[in-house]
Amino acid sequence: MKKDPRYKSGLISSLNPFGYNVERWSYALHRVTGVVLIGYLMAHIFETFELSMGSTAWTNTMNALHSLGPLELVGLWIVAGSALYHGANGIRLILNEMFGKLMGSPILPVYPYSPTSLGRNQRMVVWTITGVVLVLWVWAGLYLLAGLGVV
């Protein structure tokens, strides 16, 4: 992949949301969490494949995982957080992309400008999602790390 001659372009610059609106942050997060999830999905399919090899193979896999110590649970917690954020933000993205909601309809711009696509509807959904995900993530943390939160 030859170096991109354009000024400050490429992966890092595309994922760098500094100075921009919150939706650009959620774009970067969505992409990072997506990559985490696809990585975990592949590992998870291999892991569950061990189930079909009988209980001894399964217990060996579990022991191999446990040998990672706290890293395993923290790692799973990160994956849980990624899944929560990716899913919740995904709902917002589908609302935007597939159903064209949250963007507002065309207006005649009046100065001082505030684009409706980043307006109240959009921001309300962005912040509710972030709140919900954080709450659920804490619950996932308690459940995974401290064994609490079992109903």
């Binding site: 991109d4 001659p5 354009r6 000024y7 400050k8 372009s9 490429g10 992966l11 610059s13 595309s14 994922l15 949301p17 500094f18 100075g19 921009y20 609106n21 939706e23 650009r24 959620s26 774009y27 970067a28 969505h30 992409r31 993205l93 935007n96 992309e97 597939m98 159903f99 064209g100 963007m103 507002g104 065309p106 207006i107 005649l108 711009p109 400008y113 505030s114 684009p115 409706t116 696509s117 980043l118 959009q122």
Partner: protein, 271 residues
């Protein structure tokens, strides 16, 4: 604050600082002009209208693409202002970037009124009947001054130079939503490509930096909806606005009359 410093990224990445006296209401473009006229005549940057309507002076100021002519130094709340060329574009000299790819993307979406009867469009003397609310459906996206700020703010453009960019898609939707245009099907096929509208992931950075509130993010989602209408709902293109006959020849109202001619009417050739 009566002194301000501009740290400008010059060709080759050199960062050079210029100290200037601050005047009330001074914009970044005023500062750049003062630098070239008084301190360093080799500073390369583009500018023309100085009132935010021509789109020449786009650059990255304090990390965010802005128009230099309308960015007041006072709102930047810093004494040292970092000025860099626009991101995701080739630097040709100092702050002058190559906008040819950006202009080519604009041309690639065929941004002009398409009609089946092109002769009527180019050589008749009628006007198409368009109501005000029909104009409102696309007028916001016609405010685009092609400054390239959205193009340089978009994360997908930063990653994928083949992506046609928020500006081009917004212009394509502007013509899709224009009642006079009959190129709906063609425009959908132009956008529905692997580097077209589907590469937008609603980061909203384009609408965030747009100096004219063209809101390209909104236009892109509406363009997407048009594509889904066609693919999923099997919607068909509607017929374009029809030419309206000139007003009836009967005189409705007597207007002001100019004084009578002093000579015979008609053009006496001269010079």
């Amino acid at each position: 604050m009566d002194k301000v410093t501009l740290e400008v990224v010059r060709s080759g990445g050199r960062r050079i600082r210029y100290d200037l006296r601050y005047r009330k209401g001074m914009t970044v473009l005023d500062a750049l002009i003062e630098i070239r006229e008084k301190l360093d005549s080799s500073l390369g940057y583009r500018h023309s209208c100085r009132m935010g309507i021509c789109g020449s002076c786009g650059m990255t100021i304090e990390g965010v693409p802005r128009l230099a002519c309308q960015t007041q130094i006072s709102i930047l709340k810093t004494d040292v202002i970092r000025v860099e060329p626009l991101h995701s574009m080739g630097v040709m000299r100092d702050l002058v970037v190559d906008i040819a790819p950006f202009m080519a993307m604009h041309k690639s979406v065929k941004p002009y009124i398409m009609r089946r009867n092109t002769d009527e469009r180019d050589h008749s003397d009628r006007e198409y009947r368009v109501l005000s609310e029909e104009v409102r459906r696309f007028l916001q996206f016609d405010y685009c001054i092609m400054c390239g700020l959205c193009y340089s703010a978009c994360p997908t453009v930063a990653l994928d130079p083949a992506y046609i960019g928020p500006q081009a898609i917004a212009q394509s939707y502007r013509y899709m939503a224009d009642p006079r245009d009959e190129g709906w099907d063609q425009r959908i096929d132009l956008l529905d490509t692997s580097h077209g509208v589907w590469r937008c992931h609603v980061a909203g950075a384009c609408s965030f930096v747009c100096p004219k509130d063209v809101d390209p993010a909104k236009a892109i989602q509406m363009a997407r909806k048009e594509i889904l209408k066609k693919r999923l709902l099997r919607r068909k293109a509607r017929v374009g606005a029809q030419p309206v006959p000139l007003l009836s020849s009967g005189v409705v109202k007597q207007g002001v009359k100019p004084p009578p001619f002093d000579f015979g009417k008609g053009s006496v050739s001269r010079k």
